[in-house]
């Protein structure tokens, strides 16, 4: 329908290559070794996580720094339910974590989403930090020592356990955001909230719905992740870095576009793994991420995805030229409330 929507295959060749791509992706454990299967598992997970952030940040225009809290809720829910004594089935734990995350989103979102975007960012961040602290201090979460889950050594099991939900997430996001009324509502809120209200859109409700949706996704993947890495503690599932990663991946890939987060996640996850391989830890990676974000904002605000569309490439070169020329002084161009 619209050229602004996701990249939908237009002709036979594109459909064919998409099909091949899907087949290749589905067969990963069969044509590569355990190491790379694990890498792709990570890519699948982060693609979905970045997508979840993108729902709020890219489509609704509200930056959330609290995604880690939802991820952590999912992780701890699955971990606790799979402890000896509870022995839940892994798959049954996932909806529980998802629902809990969604509920938290509604509780926190309802008062905070009525305010400016900056408050939302601050409040969600504070929420995530609070959860981190509580999980570290509280007893039932195992405190800073964490929790151990039943072991499952199958790499391919986890690959599909991450991949299928990731594909489903992608499909649902695409349908909801690019092919439904909800997508219009959310984008209207992002582009001009007062105008959205003036055409009858209940912006607060739309924002809460988007936030709840963006919380449910990490709620699910947190649970899968916990089972995958077998051992979790507050730092591994509730730290800032988790949210930061999602933010960067979505930004680099392209906000408000359906393929953006996937691209960003793939690229940055591989870079991340490379840093670990080369330096042993991720401190340098963090610095690199910060620099990348700053540069993207300055020179490629629509992300990598924008390089794939000729119209945008031209608009981009135009903008770059304008930017590099001496700026005009004193222009306010408020450009929307923060």
């Amino acid at each position: 329908m619209s050229r602004v929507g996701g990249l939908v295959p237009g002709n036979r060749w594109q459909w064919a290559s998409l099909l091949v791509f899907v087949l290749v992706v589905l067969a990963v454990p069969f044509w590569t070794d355990d190491y790379w299967t694990r890498i792709f598992t990570g890519v699948a997970m982060w693609s979905a996580l970045a997508m979840s952030w993108n729902v709020m940040g890219g489509y609704a225009g509200y930056i959330s720094f609290g995604q880690a809290a939802f991820f952590g809720i999912g992780a701890y829910t699955t971990a606790l339910l799979m402890q000896k004594g509870q022995d839940w089935n892994f798959f049954a734990t996932l909806p529980v974590g998802a629902v809990l995350a969604g509920i938290l989103a509604v509780i926190v979102g309802w008062p905070v989403l009525k305010l400016r975007g900056a408050y939302f960012a601050i409040a969600t961040w504070a929420m995530a930090e609070a959860f981190l602290q509580i999980a570290t201090a509280a007893g039932f979460t195992g405190g800073s020592s964490g929790l151990t889950l039943p072991i499952n050594a199958s790499t391919s099991f986890f690959y599909y356990a991450m991949l299928i939900p990731a594909i489903v997430t992608f499909a649902v996001c695409w349908l909801l955001l690019e092919r439904s009324r909800f997508g219009y509502r959310v984008k209207a809120v992002r582009d001009h909230e007062p105008a959205a209200e003036s055409i009858g859109i209940d912006t607060t409700r739309v924002k809460i719905q988007a936030f709840a949706f963006s919380a449910v996704i990490p709620g699910v993947f947190g649970g899968i992740y916990a089972y995958w890495i077998t051992f979790i503690n507050p730092t591994s599932v509730l730290a800032d870095d988790i949210t930061d990663q999602m933010v960067v991946m979505a930004l680099v890939g392209g906000l408000g576009r359906i393929w953006g987060p996937v691209l960003g996640a793939t690229l940055l996850y591989l870079v991340n793994r490379q840093f670990i391989a080369s330096f042993g830890d991720t401190t340098a990676y963090i610095a690199a991420v910060g620099a990348i974000v700053a540069l993207i904002v300055l020179f490629l605000p629509d992300g990598l995805v924008s390089l794939f569309s000729r119209g945008r490439r031209m608009a981009l070169s135009r903008q770059l030229l304008v930017r590099l020329l001496p700026g005009r002084n004193g222009t306010t161009g408020r450009g929307g409330r923060l």
């Binding site: 984008k187 209200e197 003036s198 055409i199």
Partner: protein, 237 residues
């Protein structure tokens, strides 16, 4: 028949009394002009009527219903539409998508058909797949007006809708207003262009410093000393 009734509307921001006791009524098929110097409270009045700002006190009735204090989206769904002083388009959407978005809380099934009609009326048909951000200033105002039309509101508030618009496009807007009026709609129009006000508005309200200083036909208020004072800030001779 009165479609909109405003009684003693007041709103202050800190020490600034933006709107002080404004009262007027709007009849069916009437085009009411609102004029006054900058800062006289006209846009604030619009924000109060459309629910973007809560009134400190006073009452607003739409088709007899008390809508004072209603949320903006509720008022919009009750049949009031508005444009903004600075065009409030969805800049990351195309022209067509802007119009689709307008009926997302309404008659979605007929969106496509309605969009075609409105685009034709506003002569924007060729631009339907262009991003709203690439439109010229005048085209943006047309698009905003078009978006308002999509919901088929009974009462339409226009905030300087022809400001900076090329004469040809201006005519499109004026023609649309007259045609819509004859179909039963009512307009509240903030304007600085006196020619337009004289040509189109049956009645005019003059605001200054948050208050209504004069009401009447254009000729009546043009002759009114307090109006001249309001604009020039000096006593009229």
């Amino acid at each position: 028949m009165t479609v909109l009734e405003v009684s003693d509307l007041r709103r202050s921001f800190g020490g600034i009394h933006a709107v002080q006791g404004v009262s007027f009524s709007l009849d069916e098929q009437e085009i009411l002009g609102i004029i006054g110097p900058n800062g006289s409270g006209k846009s604030t009045l619009f924000n109060l009527l459309t629910g973007l700002v809560r009134p400190g006190s006073g009452e607003v009735r739409l088709h007899g219903r008390d809508i004072t204090g209603w949320k903006p989206h509720r008022i919009a769904r009750a049949g009031m539409g508005r444009t903004f002083q600075i065009p409030a388009l969805f800049v990351n959407m195309t022209v067509q998508e802007n119009l689709f978005a307008a009926v997302v809380e309404g008659d979605w099934k007929s969106a496509r058909q309605r969009t075609g009609q409105v685009l034709d009326l506003m002569t924007l048909g060729d631009l339907r797949n262009e991003l709203a951000s690439t439109l010229s200033g005048g085209q943006q105002r047309l698009l905003e007006f078009a978006r308002v039309l999509m919901r088929d509101p009974q009462v339409i508030l226009l905030d300087e809708v022809t400001a900076g618009v090329h004469p040809t496009l201006r005519q499109v807007i004026l023609d649309a207003i007259t045609r819509l009026r004859s179909e039963g709609r009512s307009f509240l129009v903030i304007e600085h262009d006196m020619e337009l006000v004289r040509a189109v508005c049956e009645r005019v309200i003059v605001m200054d410093a948050g208050q209504v200083v004069a009401q009447g036909s254009f000729d009546e208020i043009a002759a009114d000393k307090s109006v001249v004072e309001a604009y020039l800030g000096v006593p009229a001779k």
